[in-house]
Amino acid sequence: MLDKARAILACVRSGQHYAAGRPINYPRRILETLRDYKRFRRSHPDLKIQYGALVAKQIGIPIEGPSGRFNFQVNDTPENMKAFDVALEMLAIGEAPSARVDLNAQKLLLQPSSYTGAITTRASVAKSMKRSKTTQIRIIEELIKIARGIIHD
Protein backbone atom coordinates (compact mmCIF):
# COMPACT_ATOMS: atom_id res chain seq x y z
CA MET A 1 0.00 0.00 0.00
CA LEU A 2 2.71 2.42 1.05
CA ASP A 3 4.71 1.51 -2.05
CA LYS A 4 1.80 2.41 -4.25
CA ALA A 5 1.17 5.67 -2.41
CA ARG A 6 4.80 6.65 -2.75
CA ALA A 7 4.81 5.87 -6.45
CA ILE A 8 1.65 7.94 -6.99
CA LEU A 9 3.12 10.84 -5.12
CA ALA A 10 6.42 10.57 -7.00
CA CYS A 11 4.55 10.90 -10.29
CA VAL A 12 2.69 13.98 -9.13
CA ARG A 13 5.87 15.48 -7.76
CA SER A 14 7.66 14.94 -11.07
CA GLY A 15 4.93 16.96 -12.75
CA GLN A 16 5.31 19.61 -10.07
CA HIS A 17 9.08 19.97 -10.38
CA TYR A 18 10.08 18.58 -13.75
CA ALA A 19 7.18 19.32 -16.07
CA ALA A 20 8.12 19.87 -19.70
CA GLY A 21 5.39 22.48 -20.03
CA ARG A 22 3.28 24.07 -17.33
CA PRO A 23 4.14 22.67 -13.87
CA ILE A 24 1.53 21.32 -11.47
CA ASN A 25 0.45 23.99 -9.01
CA TYR A 26 -2.12 22.05 -7.04
CA PRO A 27 -0.92 18.45 -6.48
CA ARG A 28 -3.69 17.77 -3.97
CA ARG A 29 -6.33 18.54 -6.58
CA ILE A 30 -4.59 16.16 -9.02
CA LEU A 31 -4.68 13.34 -6.48
CA GLU A 32 -8.28 14.00 -5.54
CA THR A 33 -9.32 14.06 -9.20
CA LEU A 34 -7.68 10.73 -9.88
CA ARG A 35 -9.14 9.20 -6.74
CA ASP A 36 -12.66 10.49 -7.25
CA TYR A 37 -13.03 10.48 -11.05
CA LYS A 38 -10.41 7.81 -11.91
CA ARG A 39 -9.00 9.95 -14.72
CA PHE A 40 -8.07 13.53 -15.59
CA ARG A 41 -10.59 15.95 -16.91
CA ARG A 42 -8.33 16.73 -19.88
CA SER A 43 -5.72 14.75 -21.79
CA HIS A 44 -2.11 15.92 -21.84
CA PRO A 45 0.95 14.92 -23.93
CA ASP A 46 3.15 14.33 -20.83
CA LEU A 47 0.80 12.01 -18.96
CA LYS A 48 2.08 8.79 -20.54
CA ILE A 49 5.66 9.38 -19.38
CA GLN A 50 4.68 11.00 -16.11
CA TYR A 51 2.37 8.24 -14.93
CA GLY A 52 3.84 5.30 -16.84
CA ALA A 53 5.57 4.07 -13.66
CA LEU A 54 2.16 3.30 -12.15
CA VAL A 55 1.32 0.69 -14.78
CA ALA A 56 3.61 -1.97 -13.31
CA LYS A 57 1.93 -1.42 -9.95
CA GLN A 58 -1.46 -1.97 -11.53
CA ILE A 59 -2.64 1.42 -10.35
CA GLY A 60 -3.79 2.35 -13.84
CA ILE A 61 -2.90 2.70 -17.51
CA PRO A 62 -2.28 5.64 -19.87
CA ILE A 63 -4.99 5.92 -22.52
CA GLU A 64 -4.17 7.51 -25.83
CA GLY A 65 -6.51 10.26 -26.90
CA PRO A 66 -6.58 12.53 -29.94
CA SER A 67 -3.50 14.38 -31.24
CA GLY A 68 -0.94 12.39 -29.28
CA ARG A 69 -2.45 13.39 -25.94
CA PHE A 70 -2.92 10.94 -23.12
CA ASN A 71 -5.18 10.49 -20.15
CA PHE A 72 -4.60 8.14 -17.26
CA GLN A 73 -7.26 5.58 -16.27
CA VAL A 74 -7.04 4.51 -12.63
CA ASN A 75 -7.94 0.90 -11.82
CA ASP A 76 -10.82 1.32 -9.40
CA THR A 77 -9.84 -1.17 -6.70
CA PRO A 78 -10.16 -0.70 -2.94
CA GLU A 79 -6.39 -1.02 -2.61
CA ASN A 80 -5.70 1.69 -5.17
CA MET A 81 -8.23 4.04 -3.60
CA LYS A 82 -6.59 3.51 -0.24
CA ALA A 83 -3.21 4.24 -1.84
CA PHE A 84 -4.55 7.59 -3.08
CA ASP A 85 -5.79 8.36 0.42
CA VAL A 86 -2.35 7.56 1.84
CA ALA A 87 -0.67 9.67 -0.88
CA LEU A 88 -2.93 12.58 0.12
CA GLU A 89 -1.91 12.04 3.73
CA MET A 90 1.74 12.05 2.70
CA LEU A 91 1.19 15.24 0.76
CA ALA A 92 -0.38 16.84 3.81
CA ILE A 93 2.63 15.86 5.91
CA GLY A 94 4.99 17.28 3.30
CA GLU A 95 3.02 20.52 3.12
CA ALA A 96 2.85 21.04 6.87
CA PRO A 97 5.55 18.97 8.58
CA SER A 98 4.75 20.32 11.99
CA ALA A 99 1.09 19.44 11.76
CA ARG A 100 1.60 15.68 12.06
CA VAL A 101 4.78 14.50 13.64
CA ASP A 102 5.20 10.86 12.83
CA LEU A 103 8.87 9.99 13.10
CA ASN A 104 8.58 6.64 11.36
CA ALA A 105 6.68 8.17 8.48
CA GLN A 106 9.14 11.05 8.17
CA LYS A 107 12.07 8.63 8.18
CA LEU A 108 10.46 6.67 5.42
CA LEU A 109 9.50 9.66 3.33
CA LEU A 110 12.88 11.29 3.56
CA GLN A 111 14.86 8.32 2.29
CA PRO A 112 16.91 9.08 -0.85
CA SER A 113 14.54 6.98 -2.91
CA SER A 114 11.38 8.45 -1.45
CA TYR A 115 8.95 10.64 -3.35
CA THR A 116 11.07 13.72 -2.59
CA GLY A 117 14.04 12.25 -4.45
CA ALA A 118 15.08 13.28 -7.95
CA ILE A 119 13.17 11.90 -10.93
CA THR A 120 16.19 9.82 -11.97
CA THR A 121 15.82 7.71 -8.86
CA ARG A 122 12.27 6.76 -9.74
CA ALA A 123 13.21 3.74 -11.84
CA SER A 124 15.20 2.19 -9.01
CA VAL A 125 12.38 2.95 -6.60
CA ALA A 126 9.98 1.09 -8.83
CA LYS A 127 12.28 -1.92 -9.05
CA SER A 128 12.85 -2.14 -5.32
CA MET A 129 9.19 -1.87 -4.43
CA LYS A 130 7.56 -5.16 -3.49
CA ARG A 131 4.06 -6.02 -4.64
CA SER A 132 1.36 -5.95 -2.04
CA LYS A 133 -0.26 -9.14 -0.79
CA THR A 134 -3.49 -8.29 -2.61
CA THR A 135 -1.65 -7.72 -5.87
CA GLN A 136 0.23 -11.00 -5.48
CA ILE A 137 -3.02 -12.90 -4.89
CA ARG A 138 -4.56 -11.22 -7.93
CA ILE A 139 -1.59 -12.20 -10.11
CA ILE A 140 -1.73 -15.81 -8.88
CA GLU A 141 -5.49 -15.92 -9.57
CA GLU A 142 -4.91 -14.67 -13.11
CA LEU A 143 -2.20 -17.29 -13.65
CA ILE A 144 -4.54 -20.04 -12.45
CA LYS A 145 -7.14 -18.84 -14.95
CA ILE A 146 -4.59 -18.99 -17.75
CA ALA A 147 -3.62 -22.51 -16.69
CA ARG A 148 -7.26 -23.59 -16.78
CA GLY A 149 -7.81 -22.16 -20.24
CA ILE A 150 -9.82 -19.06 -19.45
CA ILE A 151 -9.66 -16.59 -22.31
CA HIS A 152 -8.45 -13.05 -21.70
CA ASP A 153 -9.65 -10.94 -24.60
Partner: protein, 361 residues
Protein backbone atom coordinates in the same frame (compact mmCIF):
# COMPACT_ATOMS: atom_id res chain seq x y z
CA UNK B 1 -23.15 -7.49 -35.48
CA UNK B 2 -23.98 -8.85 -38.91
CA UNK B 3 -26.84 -7.21 -40.84
CA UNK B 4 -29.95 -9.30 -40.26
CA UNK B 5 -31.81 -9.15 -43.61
CA UNK B 6 -35.38 -8.31 -44.65
CA UNK B 7 -38.74 -9.13 -43.06
CA UNK B 8 -39.23 -11.77 -45.78
CA UNK B 9 -36.06 -13.40 -44.52
CA UNK B 10 -37.33 -13.24 -40.94
CA UNK B 11 -40.57 -15.00 -41.85
CA UNK B 12 -38.56 -17.75 -43.57
CA UNK B 13 -36.21 -18.01 -40.59
CA UNK B 14 -39.10 -18.50 -38.16
CA UNK B 15 -40.70 -21.09 -40.43
CA UNK B 16 -37.37 -22.90 -40.80
CA UNK B 17 -36.94 -22.91 -37.03
CA UNK B 18 -40.42 -24.37 -36.59
CA UNK B 19 -39.64 -27.06 -39.15
CA UNK B 20 -36.41 -28.08 -37.41
CA UNK B 21 -38.05 -27.85 -33.97
CA UNK B 22 -40.72 -30.29 -35.10
CA UNK B 23 -37.96 -32.72 -36.01
CA UNK B 24 -36.38 -32.55 -32.54
CA UNK B 25 -33.74 -29.89 -33.09
CA UNK B 26 -32.65 -27.17 -30.68
CA UNK B 27 -32.60 -24.08 -32.89
CA UNK B 28 -30.81 -20.83 -32.11
CA UNK B 29 -31.41 -18.12 -34.70
CA UNK B 30 -28.99 -15.63 -36.23
CA UNK B 31 -25.76 -17.16 -35.00
CA UNK B 32 -22.83 -14.86 -35.75
CA UNK B 33 -19.79 -16.34 -37.40
CA UNK B 34 -16.60 -14.45 -36.71
CA UNK B 35 -12.90 -14.86 -37.06
CA UNK B 36 -10.24 -13.59 -34.66
CA UNK B 37 -6.77 -12.38 -35.43
CA UNK B 38 -3.94 -10.94 -33.38
CA UNK B 39 -2.37 -8.39 -35.72
CA UNK B 40 -0.81 -6.11 -33.14
CA UNK B 41 -1.17 -6.19 -29.40
CA UNK B 42 -4.94 -6.61 -29.38
CA UNK B 43 -7.28 -9.38 -30.42
CA UNK B 44 -9.24 -8.28 -33.45
CA UNK B 45 -12.61 -9.74 -34.37
CA UNK B 46 -13.76 -9.93 -37.98
CA UNK B 47 -17.43 -10.51 -38.70
CA UNK B 48 -17.89 -13.11 -41.43
CA UNK B 49 -21.59 -13.79 -41.74
CA UNK B 50 -24.47 -15.10 -39.68
CA UNK B 51 -26.22 -18.43 -39.75
CA UNK B 52 -29.95 -17.79 -40.15
CA UNK B 53 -31.03 -20.90 -38.27
CA UNK B 54 -28.81 -23.42 -36.57
CA UNK B 55 -30.21 -26.82 -35.67
CA UNK B 56 -28.57 -29.21 -33.21
CA UNK B 57 -30.10 -32.55 -32.37
CA UNK B 58 -28.77 -35.14 -29.93
CA UNK B 59 -29.43 -38.85 -30.22
CA UNK B 60 -29.77 -41.44 -27.46
CA UNK B 61 -26.01 -42.01 -27.38
CA UNK B 62 -25.52 -38.21 -27.25
CA UNK B 63 -23.96 -38.08 -30.69
CA UNK B 64 -25.37 -35.05 -32.45
CA UNK B 65 -26.16 -33.68 -35.86
CA UNK B 66 -25.80 -30.04 -36.88
CA UNK B 67 -27.83 -28.37 -39.61
CA UNK B 68 -27.33 -24.89 -41.00
CA UNK B 69 -30.26 -23.17 -42.68
CA UNK B 70 -29.84 -20.29 -45.10
CA UNK B 71 -33.03 -18.34 -45.80
CA UNK B 72 -33.18 -15.99 -48.74
CA UNK B 73 -36.12 -13.87 -49.76
CA UNK B 74 -34.27 -11.98 -52.51
CA UNK B 75 -33.03 -12.67 -56.05
CA UNK B 76 -29.47 -13.82 -55.48
CA UNK B 77 -28.29 -16.60 -57.78
CA UNK B 78 -29.12 -19.96 -56.22
CA UNK B 79 -25.93 -21.81 -57.30
CA UNK B 80 -23.71 -19.03 -55.93
CA UNK B 81 -25.52 -19.05 -52.64
CA UNK B 82 -25.50 -22.84 -52.44
CA UNK B 83 -21.72 -22.94 -52.87
CA UNK B 84 -21.43 -20.18 -50.27
CA UNK B 85 -23.58 -22.24 -47.87
CA UNK B 86 -21.32 -25.25 -48.39
CA UNK B 87 -18.34 -23.08 -47.34
CA UNK B 88 -20.16 -21.92 -44.21
CA UNK B 89 -21.04 -25.54 -43.38
CA UNK B 90 -17.37 -26.55 -43.67
CA UNK B 91 -16.22 -23.60 -41.58
CA UNK B 92 -18.75 -24.36 -38.86
CA UNK B 93 -18.45 -28.13 -39.07
CA UNK B 94 -22.12 -28.71 -39.92
CA UNK B 95 -23.37 -32.05 -41.21
CA UNK B 96 -26.11 -30.82 -43.48
CA UNK B 97 -27.45 -27.61 -45.01
CA UNK B 98 -30.92 -26.35 -45.87
CA UNK B 99 -31.27 -23.73 -48.56
CA UNK B 100 -34.68 -22.08 -48.32
CA UNK B 101 -35.64 -19.49 -50.93
CA UNK B 102 -38.87 -18.27 -52.50
CA UNK B 103 -37.82 -19.61 -55.88
CA UNK B 104 -34.91 -21.90 -56.63
CA UNK B 105 -33.48 -22.36 -60.13
CA UNK B 106 -33.31 -25.89 -61.46
CA UNK B 107 -29.51 -25.88 -61.76
CA UNK B 108 -29.32 -24.88 -58.10
CA UNK B 109 -31.44 -27.86 -57.12
CA UNK B 110 -29.31 -30.24 -59.17
CA UNK B 111 -25.95 -29.34 -57.58
CA UNK B 112 -27.22 -29.13 -53.97
CA UNK B 113 -27.42 -32.88 -53.13
CA UNK B 114 -23.72 -33.38 -53.98
CA UNK B 115 -22.94 -30.71 -51.39
CA UNK B 116 -25.18 -32.28 -48.69
CA UNK B 117 -27.66 -29.42 -49.01
CA UNK B 118 -31.44 -29.68 -49.25
CA UNK B 119 -33.26 -27.10 -51.33
CA UNK B 120 -36.73 -25.93 -50.34
CA UNK B 121 -38.72 -23.22 -52.12
CA UNK B 122 -41.89 -21.49 -50.89
CA UNK B 123 -44.27 -24.11 -52.26
CA UNK B 124 -42.11 -26.94 -50.99
CA UNK B 125 -41.99 -25.37 -47.55
CA UNK B 126 -45.78 -24.99 -47.46
CA UNK B 127 -46.15 -28.64 -48.45
CA UNK B 128 -43.78 -29.76 -45.68
CA UNK B 129 -45.57 -27.58 -43.14
CA UNK B 130 -48.89 -29.19 -44.06
CA UNK B 131 -47.56 -32.75 -44.09
CA UNK B 132 -45.86 -32.36 -40.71
CA UNK B 133 -48.84 -30.42 -39.23
CA UNK B 134 -46.55 -27.66 -38.05
CA UNK B 135 -49.49 -25.39 -37.27
CA UNK B 136 -50.34 -27.75 -34.42
CA UNK B 137 -47.08 -27.05 -32.55
CA UNK B 138 -48.07 -25.53 -29.22
CA UNK B 139 -44.93 -23.47 -28.71
CA UNK B 140 -45.46 -20.16 -30.51
CA UNK B 141 -42.38 -20.01 -32.70
CA UNK B 142 -43.94 -17.77 -35.36
CA UNK B 143 -44.59 -14.52 -33.47
CA UNK B 144 -42.41 -12.02 -35.36
CA UNK B 145 -43.20 -9.16 -32.99
CA UNK B 146 -42.15 -11.15 -29.93
CA UNK B 147 -39.07 -12.37 -31.71
CA UNK B 148 -38.03 -8.79 -32.48
CA UNK B 149 -38.78 -7.77 -28.90
CA UNK B 150 -36.53 -10.53 -27.60
CA UNK B 151 -33.84 -9.60 -30.09
CA UNK B 152 -33.93 -6.04 -28.77
CA UNK B 153 -33.22 -7.35 -25.27
CA UNK B 154 -29.80 -8.50 -26.40
CA UNK B 155 -26.90 -6.20 -25.53
CA UNK B 156 -26.17 -3.31 -23.22
CA UNK B 157 -28.05 -0.04 -23.63
CA UNK B 158 -25.93 3.09 -23.76
CA UNK B 159 -27.63 6.51 -24.03
CA UNK B 160 -27.03 8.41 -27.25
CA UNK B 161 -23.70 10.26 -27.07
CA UNK B 162 -23.07 8.54 -23.74
CA UNK B 163 -20.43 6.07 -22.71
CA UNK B 164 -20.94 2.62 -21.19
CA UNK B 165 -20.37 2.44 -17.45
CA UNK B 166 -17.60 0.18 -16.07
CA UNK B 167 -20.29 -2.35 -15.05
CA UNK B 168 -21.81 -2.28 -18.53
CA UNK B 169 -18.39 -2.94 -20.03
CA UNK B 170 -18.09 -6.04 -17.83
CA UNK B 171 -21.52 -7.28 -18.91
CA UNK B 172 -20.64 -6.53 -22.53
CA UNK B 173 -17.88 -9.12 -22.28
CA UNK B 174 -20.49 -11.77 -21.45
CA UNK B 175 -22.55 -10.78 -24.50
CA UNK B 176 -19.47 -10.85 -26.69
CA UNK B 177 -18.53 -14.28 -25.44
CA UNK B 178 -21.94 -15.82 -26.02
CA UNK B 179 -22.48 -14.12 -29.36
CA UNK B 180 -19.07 -14.60 -30.96
CA UNK B 181 -16.44 -16.49 -29.01
CA UNK B 182 -18.73 -19.32 -27.97
CA UNK B 183 -19.07 -20.44 -31.58
CA UNK B 184 -15.47 -19.71 -32.54
CA UNK B 185 -13.16 -21.14 -29.87
CA UNK B 186 -12.48 -24.80 -29.23
CA UNK B 187 -15.64 -26.32 -27.81
CA UNK B 188 -13.90 -27.82 -24.75
CA UNK B 189 -13.19 -24.34 -23.39
CA UNK B 190 -16.80 -23.18 -23.31
CA UNK B 191 -17.89 -24.67 -19.97
CA UNK B 192 -15.20 -22.94 -17.93
CA UNK B 193 -15.31 -19.72 -19.87
CA UNK B 194 -19.07 -19.30 -19.59
CA UNK B 195 -18.86 -19.82 -15.84
CA UNK B 196 -15.96 -17.40 -15.56
CA UNK B 197 -17.70 -14.64 -17.52
CA UNK B 198 -20.86 -14.88 -15.44
CA UNK B 199 -18.88 -15.02 -12.19
CA UNK B 200 -17.42 -11.62 -13.05
CA UNK B 201 -20.87 -10.04 -13.41
CA UNK B 202 -22.87 -12.06 -10.88
CA UNK B 203 -23.18 -9.05 -8.58
CA UNK B 204 -24.13 -6.71 -11.41
CA UNK B 205 -26.94 -8.68 -13.05
CA UNK B 206 -30.36 -8.61 -11.44
CA UNK B 207 -33.24 -11.05 -12.07
CA UNK B 208 -35.75 -8.19 -12.00
CA UNK B 209 -34.16 -6.74 -15.13
CA UNK B 210 -35.67 -8.47 -18.18
CA UNK B 211 -32.55 -7.86 -20.22
CA UNK B 212 -30.34 -9.52 -17.59
CA UNK B 213 -32.68 -12.46 -17.28
CA UNK B 214 -32.61 -13.03 -21.02
CA UNK B 215 -28.81 -12.94 -20.99
CA UNK B 216 -28.65 -15.49 -18.17
CA UNK B 217 -31.08 -17.86 -19.93
CA UNK B 218 -29.16 -17.69 -23.20
CA UNK B 219 -25.89 -18.30 -21.35
CA UNK B 220 -27.43 -21.16 -19.40
CA UNK B 221 -28.74 -22.88 -22.53
CA UNK B 222 -25.33 -22.53 -24.21
CA UNK B 223 -23.79 -24.00 -21.06
CA UNK B 224 -26.13 -27.00 -21.15
CA UNK B 225 -25.32 -27.50 -24.83
CA UNK B 226 -21.62 -27.63 -24.00
CA UNK B 227 -22.28 -30.09 -21.16
CA UNK B 228 -24.05 -32.42 -23.58
CA UNK B 229 -21.18 -32.16 -26.07
CA UNK B 230 -18.78 -33.04 -23.24
CA UNK B 231 -20.96 -36.01 -22.29
CA UNK B 232 -20.93 -37.07 -25.93
CA UNK B 233 -17.11 -37.18 -25.89
CA UNK B 234 -17.20 -39.32 -22.74
CA UNK B 235 -19.66 -41.76 -24.28
CA UNK B 236 -17.70 -41.92 -27.52
CA UNK B 237 -14.32 -42.50 -25.81
CA UNK B 238 -14.93 -44.53 -22.66
CA UNK B 239 -18.27 -44.52 -20.89
CA UNK B 240 -16.76 -46.44 -17.94
CA UNK B 241 -14.27 -43.67 -17.10
CA UNK B 242 -16.37 -40.53 -16.75
CA UNK B 243 -14.10 -38.49 -14.41
CA UNK B 244 -10.91 -39.21 -16.38
CA UNK B 245 -12.52 -38.46 -19.73
CA UNK B 246 -14.18 -35.26 -18.52
CA UNK B 247 -10.92 -33.97 -17.07
CA UNK B 248 -9.01 -34.70 -20.25
CA UNK B 249 -11.66 -33.09 -22.41
CA UNK B 250 -12.27 -29.96 -20.33
CA UNK B 251 -8.54 -29.22 -20.26
CA UNK B 252 -7.98 -29.76 -23.97
CA UNK B 253 -6.77 -33.37 -24.27
CA UNK B 254 -3.91 -35.35 -22.71
CA UNK B 255 -1.02 -33.08 -23.73
CA UNK B 256 -2.72 -29.83 -22.82
CA UNK B 257 -3.82 -31.41 -19.54
CA UNK B 258 -0.24 -32.40 -18.72
CA UNK B 259 1.02 -28.91 -19.61
CA UNK B 260 -1.60 -27.28 -17.46
CA UNK B 261 -0.85 -29.57 -14.52
CA UNK B 262 2.84 -28.81 -14.86
CA UNK B 263 2.08 -25.08 -14.90
CA UNK B 264 0.11 -25.45 -11.65
CA UNK B 265 2.92 -27.51 -10.09
CA UNK B 266 5.34 -24.68 -10.83
CA UNK B 267 2.89 -22.10 -9.54
CA UNK B 268 2.51 -24.02 -6.29
CA UNK B 269 6.24 -23.69 -5.72
CA UNK B 270 6.00 -19.91 -5.54
CA UNK B 271 2.53 -19.62 -4.02
CA UNK B 272 1.94 -19.86 -0.28
CA UNK B 273 -1.53 -21.28 -0.74
CA UNK B 274 -1.72 -24.62 -2.52
CA UNK B 275 -3.95 -24.60 -5.56
CA UNK B 276 -5.40 -27.22 -7.87
CA UNK B 277 -6.01 -27.18 -11.60
CA UNK B 278 -9.70 -28.01 -11.27
CA UNK B 279 -12.07 -25.13 -10.48
CA UNK B 280 -14.11 -25.28 -7.28
CA UNK B 281 -17.21 -26.57 -9.07
CA UNK B 282 -15.38 -29.41 -10.81
CA UNK B 283 -16.82 -32.24 -8.68
CA UNK B 284 -20.34 -30.94 -9.30
CA UNK B 285 -19.51 -30.84 -12.99
CA UNK B 286 -18.37 -34.47 -12.92
CA UNK B 287 -21.54 -35.44 -11.12
CA UNK B 288 -23.87 -33.78 -13.61
CA UNK B 289 -22.02 -35.15 -16.65
CA UNK B 290 -22.18 -38.58 -15.05
CA UNK B 291 -25.98 -38.18 -14.89
CA UNK B 292 -26.20 -36.91 -18.46
CA UNK B 293 -24.29 -39.98 -19.61
CA UNK B 294 -26.34 -42.34 -17.45
CA UNK B 295 -29.70 -40.90 -18.49
CA UNK B 296 -28.71 -39.95 -22.03
CA UNK B 297 -32.11 -40.76 -23.54
CA UNK B 298 -33.60 -37.98 -21.37
CA UNK B 299 -30.55 -35.70 -21.40
CA UNK B 300 -30.72 -35.33 -25.19
CA UNK B 301 -33.88 -33.19 -24.85
CA UNK B 302 -32.44 -30.73 -22.30
CA UNK B 303 -31.56 -27.81 -24.64
CA UNK B 304 -35.04 -27.99 -26.20
CA UNK B 305 -36.71 -28.01 -22.80
CA UNK B 306 -34.69 -25.01 -21.70
CA UNK B 307 -35.42 -23.17 -24.93
CA UNK B 308 -39.13 -23.85 -24.46
CA UNK B 309 -39.04 -22.61 -20.85
CA UNK B 310 -37.23 -19.45 -21.91
CA UNK B 311 -39.47 -18.73 -24.90
CA UNK B 312 -42.64 -19.37 -22.89
CA UNK B 313 -41.45 -16.95 -20.22
CA UNK B 314 -40.48 -14.21 -22.64
CA UNK B 315 -43.57 -14.76 -24.80
CA UNK B 316 -45.66 -14.40 -21.68
CA UNK B 317 -47.45 -17.62 -22.59
CA UNK B 318 -48.89 -20.14 -20.15
CA UNK B 319 -48.68 -23.27 -22.30
CA UNK B 320 -47.39 -26.17 -20.23
CA UNK B 321 -44.41 -28.30 -21.23
CA UNK B 322 -46.74 -31.34 -21.36
CA UNK B 323 -48.74 -29.61 -24.08
CA UNK B 324 -45.64 -28.45 -25.94
CA UNK B 325 -43.81 -31.77 -25.98
CA UNK B 326 -46.80 -34.12 -26.11
CA UNK B 327 -45.57 -37.72 -26.34
CA UNK B 328 -41.95 -36.57 -25.94
CA UNK B 329 -42.73 -35.02 -22.54
CA UNK B 330 -40.46 -36.41 -19.85
CA UNK B 331 -40.18 -35.60 -16.16
CA UNK B 332 -36.64 -37.01 -16.22
CA UNK B 333 -35.58 -34.40 -18.79
CA UNK B 334 -36.97 -31.67 -16.54
CA UNK B 335 -35.16 -33.07 -13.50
CA UNK B 336 -31.87 -33.11 -15.42
CA UNK B 337 -32.49 -29.55 -16.64
CA UNK B 338 -33.04 -28.39 -13.08
CA UNK B 339 -29.90 -30.13 -11.86
CA UNK B 340 -27.88 -28.38 -14.55
CA UNK B 341 -29.55 -25.13 -13.46
CA UNK B 342 -28.48 -25.70 -9.85
CA UNK B 343 -24.89 -26.27 -10.94
CA UNK B 344 -24.92 -23.19 -13.18
CA UNK B 345 -26.28 -20.88 -10.47
CA UNK B 346 -23.98 -22.26 -7.79
CA UNK B 347 -20.83 -22.11 -9.95
CA UNK B 348 -21.49 -18.61 -11.29
CA UNK B 349 -22.77 -17.13 -8.03
CA UNK B 350 -25.82 -15.74 -9.85
CA UNK B 351 -28.98 -15.01 -7.89
CA UNK B 352 -31.07 -18.18 -7.44
CA UNK B 353 -34.21 -16.57 -8.82
CA UNK B 354 -32.72 -16.08 -12.29
CA UNK B 355 -34.02 -19.48 -13.36
CA UNK B 356 -37.17 -19.46 -11.22
CA UNK B 357 -39.43 -20.52 -14.14
CA UNK B 358 -37.39 -23.69 -14.60
CA UNK B 359 -36.86 -24.39 -10.92
CA UNK B 360 -40.56 -24.11 -10.14
CA UNK B 361 -41.54 -26.82 -12.63
Amino acid sequence: MTKRGSSDDLNLKLRARRLLWSMGYYCPLEVDLTHYDYPDTKLKRWSLTDIDVLGIKFENDLSFKTIIVDCKGGDESSPNRIFWLRGVMDFFGADEGYFIKKQIHEHGRSIAPRLRIRTIDSRGLEKLEQQLSLDKIKLDLMDEKKFLENRSLWGIVVPKNGKPTPDQLKVKKVYQYLQYLYWFIEEYRNIQNIIDRFQLVANILTPLEKRDKYLVYVGFIRFSLSLLKTANVVVSKNILEVPEQVKQYVFGGPFFLREREHFIEMLNKISEKKIGLEPAYFNDLLEIINRLVKYSQFAKHVPRYLEAVMLEHFLGSKTSLQEIFGNDYSVDSIVLSKQIGELFLKATGLNNTFLSELMSL
